[in-house]
Structure formats: structure tokens, C-alpha cells
Amino acid sequence: MGLNRNWWKYFLGLWMLLIILGAFLYAPPAKGLGETARILFFHVPVAWLATLAFLISALASMQYLRRPEKKYDIWASSSAQIGLIFALLATVTGSIWAKKIWQSYWNWDPRETSIFILLLIYAAYFALRSAVDIDEQKAKLAAVYSIIAFITVPFLVIIIPRVYESLHPDPLINPEGKIKMDGRMLQIFLGSLFGFTLLFYWMLRLKIDTARTKLVVDNLDK
């Protein structure tokens, strides 16, 4: 019975294993970037999920301001917590790749700046949450901040890297709007994107369930 409800978790384990094998054995090295480009199968999905988590958090925050119900706040903060993990992973993988290809772990390329700011925003969000004592007020102020921060992100992620020069390759969202990927690379990339998104969904559900249970237990005490 447990297997029936959780079949997708086993499936995900197998899927990710295949993706890892495929990323190293099946996909060809990218033109110009060589073997190091294989990191894109992990780096890009992780960065994309950091942004998605942030989007979910901002949407839940907007919903909270419209209808102040506890569940929306739980959604917003849970998604932000998982987003923080993914943003950290994106920063670390990106930094390792930068060392290999640009000879330095960190050189404030506009892309590096934007992911760093995403990290700062997440950190500020949690700093704000920990500095407010009353629950309703905490949820309300955090929601407002999350929305402000979310409006800032397009400036940092989309506008600034295009106005000032960046060395970062962006094969998917480039100015010409063309996908410059080999067919086999694209298969693995999309598969990895799917796998990571499912993983994110799983983590988010776990986080939300824990927060809900905690809420129930706290109410029992009173």
C-alpha cells in the first residue's frame, strides 16, 4: 500500500540515477566549452528551481496579503527555505565551473552577482522573520518583503546582465531565442530539469507537512 502511494519516489530515485549516468556517459561534450559543460545538467536546473521557489514564495505572499490565512504563510516560508538550499547549490556549482573555465572561483560576473543577490534576499527574508515576535505581523511583513524582493529580481537577472557585459553562457535564454544544444544534450537536460522539479516538489511537500504538524502540536500545548 505504501508502495502504491509512494511509487513516484522510487521512480524519481531511478530517474535521477539515469540522469547522472546519462550526463557523464551519454551526452556529448559541448562545443567550445568541452567536458566542463556537463555541469549544466545540474547547475541550470538547480538555478531554475531557486528562481521557481522564489516565485512560489512571492505568489503565496501575495495570496496571504489578500486573505491572511496561516497556510499561505507556511507555503511562502517553506518554499523560501528550499529555494535557499537550491540557490546555495547553484552558487557552489557555478563557482566550481567558473574556477575551471575562468580561472577564479568568483569574479563578480553579472550572473554571479544576480545569484549572490538572490542568496542575500533569502537571508534578509529569514532575518526579518526572526526579528518579529507576533506571528501575524511576522507573516504580513515577510510577505510584503518577499513581494518587493521579487520585483527587484527581474532587474538583476534579466536587465543588468544584458546592459553590462557578461561572460556567462546562456544557451537556453539567449538574445536570439534559439536553442543551441545538441539533441542528446537536450534530452538529458530536459530529463534533469524534470527530475529536479519533482525533487523540489517532494521537498516542498515535506516541508509544508512538517510546518503544519508543528502548528497543530503548538496549538495542542495551549
Binding site: 542575500l120 534578509a124 526579518l128 526579528a131 505581523q137 504580513k140 518587493i148 532587474f155 538583476l156 536587465i159
Partner: protein, 222 residues
């Protein structure tokens, strides 16, 4: 226009209060002077390039703003006058009044600190009109961000530390394009060359003000 009239009254109230205590005024002016002196003292007779001069100016401006611009809302909470203000007038009138006050405060700081900065560090400005234009638009945005974040942190504990932490990621698009534009202007860049920076500064400021007018109600009402 009741809103504008009320906002003006709020502004006058804060203006009179400020001149009675001069708290924010002292904080922000002395902070700017101290920082500028520390910089000037440590570099001695060296002539700095515009790549360094421009960020130094924005660091001074940003942290001076952070030292005083939160006072406008923090004072209302500390002296427990916020509730009366909530009863007397609409949220947006309060925001606009305080936003104008912060802008006046920041502009008067610049009127005072810019000549000293130019003289102490021996800066020669290539294109003075564009330079002023960038500073003006940049501080317009900075005052807007600071006022909005000040409203948030006035309801949290550990206000001082939180203000800079929350404001920094949000004002980064301003700082990046402000620093870039100032550097160009110091080197004698024309208006056309600095246009992308001015566009980012302007559009970002407008976005923040619009967002403030939409969100301030939620921060302000209890």
C-alpha cells in the same frame, strides 16, 4: 487633492519635529563626514581613478542613508505616536509625506557632502551635468527604497542592523547602475553613453514607488 494636502501636512510635521531634535540630520550628516574623512585620510595624497572614486561615493551615500533614513518610521513607533497617525489620515498620505521628507533629507545631505567629496579627494568631473543627473536619480530611488524598508523594520526588533540588511539587496540595481553611470560621467561620458544607466535608475525608482503605494497599506495597518 486631499491625499497630496495630507501628505504635505505629514511632511511639515516631520520637518518641524526633525528641526526640534535634529536626530536624523545629525546621524546622516556626521556619518557621511566621518566616512569621507576616513577615506580621505587613508588614501592621503594619492589620486584615485574613477573606477574607485565612483563606488566610494555610492558607499558613502548608501551607508549614510542607512544611518538616518529609518528614523522617520522608527520614531513613530518608539514614541508611540504611530497609532494616532493611523487614525488621523490615510496610509498613502503617511507614506508620501515621509517619502518626501526622506528625499529632502538625502538631497540636502548631497548638497553638503558632494562639494566636500569633490574637493577632499581631488575629483575632476568630466561631464558635470550627467554626473548630477545620475546622483539625483540614484538618490531618488535610494530614498524610495529606504522609506519602504524603514516602514517594515520599524515594526521589528533589532531595527538598526536589519535596515541595511533588508535594504541592500533591494537597492542593488540602483547601486550597480549608479556606480557604473557615475564612473562614466567622471570620465566625461556623454548623456547618450550614460542613457542605459539613467533608464535603469528611472524605471527602477518608478517601480519601487508604485509598489510602495500598493503595499504600504498592508505594512501600516494593524
Amino acid at each position: 487633492m486631499l491625499l497630496v494636502r495630507n501628505a504635505y501636512i505629514i511632511f511639515l510635521k516631520d520637518f518641524h519635529l526633525e528641526f526640534r531634535s535634529r536626530y536624523a540630520l545629525n546621524a546622516i550628516f556626521l556619518f557621511a563626514i566621518t566616512t569621507l574623512t576616513a577615506i580621505s585620510f587613508s588614501i592621503g595624497p594619492l589620486r584615485l581613478k574613477s573606477e574607485i572614486l565612483s563606488p566610494l561615493l555610492w558607499i558613502i551615500l548608501f551607508f549614510s542613508a542607512m544611518s538616518g533614513l529609518s528614523h522617520i518610521f522608527v520614531r513613530e513607533e518608539e514614541q508611540q505616536t504611530a497609532d494616532t497617525l493611523r487614525l488621523v489620515t490615510s496610509a498613502n498620505a503617511v507614506f508620501l509625506g515621509k517619502w518626501i521628507f526622506n528625499m529632502v533629507l538625502l538631497f540636502s545631505l548631497e548638497l553638503f557632502i558632494l562639494p566636500i567629496y569633490l574637493a577632499m579627494l581631488g575629483v575632476s568631473v568630466g561631464n558635470f551635468r550627467v554626473f548630477l543627473f545620475i546622483i539625483l536619480l540614484g538618490s531618488f530611488g535610494l530614498a524610495s527604497v529606504a522609506t519602504l524598508i524603514a516602514a517594515i523594520i520599524s515594526q521589528a526588533s533589532a531595527k538598526g542592523a536589519l535596515f541595511a540588511v533588508l535594504s541592500f539587496p533591494i537597492s542593488l540595481p540602483l547601486l550597480i547602475s549608479g556606480i557604473h553611470g557615475t564612473r562614466l560621467a567622471l570620465d566625461g561620458g556623454t548623456l547618450a553613453e550614460c542613457l542605459p544607466d539613467l533608464q535603469i535608475l528611472f524605471s527602477f525608482s518608478i517601480v519601487i514607488i508604485t509598489l510602495s503605494l500598493l503595499l504600504f497599506e498592508f505594512i501600516w495597518r494593524k
